[in-house]
Symmetry: C6
Subunit: 74 residues, 6 copies
C-alpha cells in the first residue's frame, strides 16, 4: 500500500475532523480491500440510521486522537 | 464543504455539549451527504430507544474531546 | 433551551456519577426533543438487558469526562 | 439514594476492578430502579455471550477511570 | 474471590496485551460466575465474527489502560 | 505463543495505523485460536457493512493507544 498518512497535524480542527473521517474509512479499507465490494455495501449503511451512527462513532474516536495530536488547536 | 468548525473552545460546558452534538451530526452528514435521505431516516432512530442511546454515546465521545480542549472549563 | 450545565465540577464522585447520568440523558433529549416520545420509549429499554447495558456504557463515558474534570476527587 | 461512592481510590488494582464493576451496575440501577425487574432480566444477559461481552466492555471503560484515579497503582 | 490482579505493570507490551485479555475475561467471569455456563457459551461467540470483534474491542479498551500504566513501555 | 509485539513505537503514523490493525486482529486471534475458523468467518464480516464499521472501531481504539505511545509523531 502506498503512503497515505504522514502526519496527524492539521491546520484547523475542521481539517482534523476530515482526517478522522479518512482514518475511519481506512480502517474499513484495510479490512475489505476490494473497492468494488465496499462500493456495493455503501447503499446499505448510508441509508440505515444505526449504521450511520456507528460510522459517526468511529469518526469520533479518531477525532479524539487527531485533536490530542494537535493539542486541540489551542 | 464550507467552513463549519474553526475552534473547539467554547464559553461554557453547555456550549461544549452542543458542539459535541454538532460534531456527532457532522459525522453522519459527511457519510450520508444527502439531507433528504438523512431527513427520511430521522423518524426511525428518533423513536427507537437503542438508536437514541447510540446517538447519545457518540455525543459522549465528542464531549470528552471538547471538554479536554477547554481544560474542563475549570 | 435553558441553561442546564454550568460546571463539570462536583463535590463528590457520587454527584459526579449523577452528573454523568444527566449528560447521558441530555444526549438523548437533544436528539429526541419530545418528552412524550421519550416517555413512550422508556418501558422498552428499561426492561431490556442489553438496552440497559448500553445506557450504562454512555454513563461510563461521561463519567470519565466528569472524573477528569474533577481530578478524580483526589 | 443513599451514599454509595465516596472515593475512586482503592488499595489494589483488583479492588479497583471490583469498583469498576460496581460503577457499571450502578449505571444500570439508576436507569432501571426496580431491583425486581433487574433480577428478572439477569438470566437473559448472563447466559448470552454478546450481552456478557457488552457488560465486560462497560467495566473496561470504568476501569480506565478508576485506574487513572489511582495513578495505575504504580 | 482469590487475588488475581496485583499490578498493571508488565515486562513487555505483549505481556500487557495478554493482561488486557485477562481483564476482558474477568469482566465476563464476574458477571457470569458459573464456569460451566461460560464454557457452554464459548462456541457461540468464538464462531461468530461480530462477537469476536466485540471481544477484541474490550481487549483494546483494557490495552489502553495497561499501556498507560506502563508508560507505553518507552 | 511466539513473540509478536516488542514495541509500540513506529517510525510513521501510517506504520502506527498498521500496528493498530495487527492489535485488533490479535484480539480476535487470541479469542478464536483456530486459523481455519477465522478464515471461514472472514467472508461474513468482510461483506457486511456494519461488521466492517465495528472492525474499524477496534482499530480506532488501538490507534489511540499507539498514537499516544509515539507522542503523536510530533
Amino acid at each position: 500500500m502506498t503512503t497515505w498518512l504522514t502526519s496527524l497535524q492539521t491546520e484547523t480542527p475542521q481539517e482534523g475532523f476530515e482526517l478522522a473521517i479518512t482514518l475511519a474509512r481506512k480502517g474499513v479499507a484495510y479490512t475489505q480491500t476490494s473497492p468494488e465490494i465496499r462500493k456495493k455495501l455503501r447503499p446499505h449503511y448510508a441509508e440505515n440510521a444505526d449504521s450511520l451512527t456507528m460510522a459517526s462513532h468511529v469518526i469520533a474516536v479518531h477525532f479524539q486522537t487527531v485533536s490530542a495530536a494537535n493539542n486541540y488547536w489551542k
